[in-house]
Amino acid sequence: MNQADVSKLMSQLRIAIRPRHRNLKNKDGPEGRLLKLRKTVTALVKHERIELFYNRADEARGYAELLISNAIRHGDTHNATMEMADYWLLEKQLVHKLFKVLVPRYENYTVSYTRMFNAPRTYPGIYYKNSVLELRGNPYPSLIVDQSQNKNLLHNVLLDEARKEYRRKKLAELAQ
């Protein structure tokens, strides 16, 4: 029953997070872990879609989300946020991208800023799960096919016929 830390105020994340962090096996301890994640976050902001092991992607995702949400919250005139961006983005031109490109892009989002997919694992190969981590609104073609508009899917056929029948009924009523 510890008290919540009130010195910082953060926005709610739109993704599910784990109760505890993952250690991400590293000989340099927590500092090395953060360095690993910094590399991942930098790559994510740079390339907007990366493929990597699931554990590392899932850990880095939270940091990327918070970095963007803080940038949106405080803007580029806030010293602490700028320092944070400077720490997390190893390539300095990406700090500019974060504040000038990503912040306008995500300002009015009501969903998470990143997406994660399970990716196939080569067999035989390394056992770890693979995943794809991407920023929403990236310029690449979508990874999943949107079938919701496909008229030939069974439920769409059924709904289509139901609608037609309803219209016929209405027309018949009007004709009377």
């Binding site: 069974l154 439920h155 016929e161």
Partner: protein, 351 residues
């Protein structure tokens, strides 16, 4: 609710305990279900259990005979087209099935594929042995042109409805499965026609829900759907105690050069031209919505048309939209009725 469990044990069938438990069940909460509960039973201790066992035995014998008749194993080349990449598989003629090909590809293919497409045009059951070298595509319900697999799914639903009805009624109801017309998705419902030894069955909501639950149970039990082509004689032998099936058989055999296609799900066997999807687990949301009395049959019996609507397991639909579909599926399906000329009806069934 302990009494529900006791029914499942076949040894206790004739114990008085079971009966008293069942009556207690009626008194407590499921009063509305009484009518169906009286008819309700497990197939393996119904009066017709011996005939079902006989059917299955004959089916197994014929299946085994056909497998043994393969003799020398020939190799065929199956060219698989699709994700992740096109490959050529060397399989055994008349033994290997599209399901075996999917097993070579990946767990996902195995789990997801509902129907195979041979040479780009011929729909082929997942568990039907391949006969010669061909190209193979594996279909599921989310492909961009799912007409074929949708049709197979609709037909499978009708077939499963027969099995579910068989399970839901007690032998006293004297249920006889008649037939089911060919799949027509646009009509909004799949259909199975049955004959019951009552002329004024007004099914309640709970009774229809029980049948729906049987469908869901079938889906959860994940039965493989087997296909077998047999000669007319064997089909007659299998269906000799089914009045309507044996009536239908000659005309079916006449159209298909003396061969009859049978499908089996668990211990339920029926005639259908196929194709059907590979297993019952592909059934997702399902509602058996209505039972219409269509005509009187013979002296005491009534001819009923049972209808329902279902979606494949991968497809999500919110309950409002599904409610619209359910409402629509309650209307009497316009598919051909058997009081119209019998041959035409059979043609429709075989389409």
């Amino acid at each position: 609710m302990k009494s529900v469990i006791t029914i499942t044990h076949p040894c206790e069938v004739f114990c008085s305990f079971t009966m008293s438990a069942a009556t207690k069940l009626h008194k407590t909460s499921w009063c509305a279900l009484r009518q169906l509960q009286q008819y309700r039973t497990k197939a393996n201790f119904s009066a017709s259990s011996s005939s079902i066992a006989k059917r299955n035995e004959l089916f197994n014998q014929e299946q085994k005979r056909q497998r043994d008749a393969v003799g020398r194993i020939d190799k065929i080349e199956v060219r698989y087209l699709g994700l992740p990449e096109d490959v050529t598989l060397v399989m055994n003629a008349n033994i290997s099935t599209p399901y075996n090909c999917a097993q070579h590809l990946s767990e996902g293919h195995k789990r997801r594929s509902a129907l195979a497409l041979i040479d780009g045009s011929v729909p082929w059951d997942m568990h039907r042995p391949l006969q010669e070298s061909c190209t193979l595509q594996l279909l599921h319900f989310q492909v961009s042109e799912p007409h074929v697999v949708n049709k197979a799914f609709w037909r499978t639903c009708s077939f499963m409805l027969g099995a579910a009805l068989n399970r839901a009624f007690k032998p006293e109801a004297n249920l006889q499965l008649h037939s089911f017309p060919g799949p027509n998705i646009k009509s909004g419902s799949f259909v199975h026609d049955i004959v019951l030894q009552t002329r004024n069955w007004q099914p309640t909501k709970e009774e229809m829900r029980t049948v729906s639950a049987e469908m869901v149970k079938l889906a959860l039990e994940d039965h493989e759907i087997e296909r077998l082509d047999v000669t007319q004689d064997i089909a007659q032998e299998i269906f000799k105690d089914s009045k309507y099936k044996s009536e239908q058989l000659p005309s079916i055999a006449q159209q298909t050069h003396g061969r009859v296609t049978l499908y089996r799900l668990g211990d339920h066997i029926d005639i259908s031209r196929g194709p059907m999807v590979g297993a019952t687990r592909f059934l997702g949301k399902c509602t058996i919505s209505a039972a219409h009395k269509v005509a009187d049959e013979g002296e005491t019996d009534g001819f009923y048309r049972i209808q329902g609507v279902a979606l494949p397991s991968g497809i999500q639909l919110n309950h409002v939209a599904f409610g619209v579909l359910e409402e629509r599926s309650k209307k009497l399906n316009p598919a051909r009725l058997p009081n119209e000329p019998f041959e035409e009806h059979q043609q429709l069934q075989l389409s």
